[in-house]
Symmetry: C2
């Protein structure tokens, strides 16, 4: 056992070289994470041990001249977790997010991941986490499609063509070999065009269409990925939705609660994570600082429009404890909130790839720590 | 504005070279932080925006064979904050802690600090935070002594001779030029001896004594630093305490509540941080996972043994809004819990020193981020 601590720095190119964009591997790893979640072989923060992470945000009207002002997706967030199974490793993702970054040619969020020895706490790796985060977030819809989509799905659509929309669509297409048509809608036409080009070069057999409204997008779609950012929250009209359709929602969206209770099966990543929100935030939980469908469900439960009986967990479906659909025609909404255990799993996998292939920069923390000598 | 993101890596030796152990400067910076706290020019996480951080801990009896088991100081913790004033910077300290590290020749906690641009979220620096953390934690008692100790203090003592005990004692001696005697008590005799040697080589005019009991240590002392670790919680008997004495407690300790309500003035770093604990933990708040005097006060309030009227904040004393002592003989207990704003302030200062003196390793995150191209 050495007193010396070294760790690996992986910048964005290193992460690419180490396979961070390997969609199939990432979907398989995320499926493993859901099994570990179902087995409770993980630890996260928060009162219930299931917190998404700790957010630092800013006021709408700061009292101090120089204090940053609240805005769409304006926050810092620390997401710590331990993951068991064959991972047995801890880590923390830490990011700052600001929609104004786009004007500077920077991504909306800049994310870094630290991976740590579960026993000593020593850093194993410090990694650029933009692609890590986008890929793991995209891979979850891939797992969703594997277990929740109708097997003959032909039309797949995305609302939102940013980083998450892109990686989600790649994962869905990786998983669903039957797709013939992809529809894209984004408030930024340019983003739609960039995504169209990426899909066309990767999946030559699909017909990619940029559409001009949410209605046009949802109608006739078998799988709809909702990857909105900022405070964009599309209202999905019930009459647009095809029977047996699957929504995978990484971003915000609203549905008609009366329709939903009768016709939609809600599947979440981890319901305890949303229960945790009650200790972290005030009603309405689905708000402009943090809008996701899981929080919308919390609000509906608070408003007595539905109960937790309408909510299933993906891990229980994977482990065949429950069925996704009660009836063939049921619509399924797979509502995602993001959890640090995903980052730990994918970071550890990419880190192992990097070690095997000699990728990255080895950094020395100390030979012997000053306060042990 | 460049799309390229670089940041500085500072390992432990770099941190030393950049002045992380400059006690006087650190005390001055911590005094500034308390003024910013009093002005509310900061942001932290949690429901009240005043959280110490997010802890990931382990069960006493894990259900899974490979899951780490709870133990003294066994946790991971993410501590995010934004700090205003002339700092205007965000950051997150992330550490893992395990008392068994000592057997491996590693520090009990291994800490890393990320410093971020407040607007873009881009990392500015990734730093070894063991000395950063020890020095900022030690400097707070220095601020406490500056405002709360009797001016002619002759006898200063420490319960606990570890990293925090050491840096606290250095800060107290840096601040109090009248000290003639230093008393040390630690359950590990070896730690006491190491600290004795350090003090003797730095402060040649003081008589350093290793004592064999808490009673011997407290009796006759003008200032007592309590820097215990793990689940060590000394019970301080009322009859041992000298009139007008000051306790600075970074660790756990218990006092007799009946005596305390009549004779002790409690001064805390940030009372809202302890109020936040009610959303994060269950009563009893002062427990073996996290024992500090601020949590003991929460318990006393919960048990209706005292009220918040008995509690003052150091920032209000610095800003002369209230007096530390009502009566000359009053004992003062300065109860500390640790806040990420301290880390941000001291990290930013050391980072600036490093930039000016060309210390550290420049790392490139990306030239242009993959998902902006």
């Amino acid at each position: 056992m050495s007193q010396r601590v070294d760790f690996l720095f992986l910048n964005e190119q290193d992460m690419i070289d180490a396979g961070v964009m390997n969609t199939t591997q990432c979907i398989n790893k995320m499926e493993e994470v859901f099994k570990l979640l179902s087995d409770k072989d993980y630890r996260m923060g928060g009162k219930l041990g299931n917190s998404h992470g700790m957010v630092v945000n800013f006021p709408d009207v700061p009292e101090h001249e120089n204090m940053p002002k609240n805005g769409p997706d304006r926050r810092f967030c620390a997401m710590p977790a331990y993951l068991g199974g064959k991972y047995r490793v801890a880590g923390c993702k830490w990011y700052g997010s600001n929609i104004e970054n786009k004007e500077k040619g920077l991504p909306r969020s800049i994310l870094m991941m630290t991976l740590n020895d579960a026993d000593t706490g020593a850093p194993l790796a410090y990694m650029s986490a933009n692609l890590l985060s986008a890929w793991r977030t995209g891979a979850i819809p891939g797992v969703g499609v594997r277990y929740l989509a109708k097997k003959d799905a032909k039309v797949v659509s995305t609302i939102g063509a940013g980083a998450i929309g892109t990686s989600s669509l790649f994962a869905i297409l990786d998983e669903l070999k039957t797709v013939e048509v992809v529809k894209i809608y984004d408030v930024y036409q340019k983003s739609s065009e960039v995504l169209k080009e990426k899909i066309e070069s990767e999946f030559k057999h699909v017909d990619v269409q940029i559409v001009n409204s949410e209605q046009e997008l949802v109608e006739g779609s078998d799988v709809i990925s909702i990857a909105t950012a900022g405070n964009v929250s599309p209202e999905i009209k019930s009459e647009w939705i095809k029977k047996s359709a699957l929504f995978v929602t990484s971003g915000s969206a609203t549905f008609d609660p009366d329709f939903a209770v009768k016709n939609i099966q809600f599947v979440v990543d981890n319901w305890q994570m949303y229960e945790e929100v009650k200790y972290e935030d005030e009603y309405p939980y689905n708000n402009k600082e943090m809008g996701v469908v899981g929080r919308l469900l919390l609000d509906w439960i608070h408003e007595e429009k539905m109960t937790t009986e309408h909510i299933k967990e993906i891990g229980d479906i994977i482990n065949k404890k429950v069925n996704a659909r009660e009836n063939e025609d049921d619509i399924v909404v797979f509502a995602l909130g993001g959890q640090p255990v995903y980052d730990v799993a994918w970071a550890y996998t990419v880190y192992q790839n990097a070690l095997e292939n000699n990728i990255g920069t080895k950094l020395n923390l100390w030979d012997v720590a000053y306060q042990v000598r």
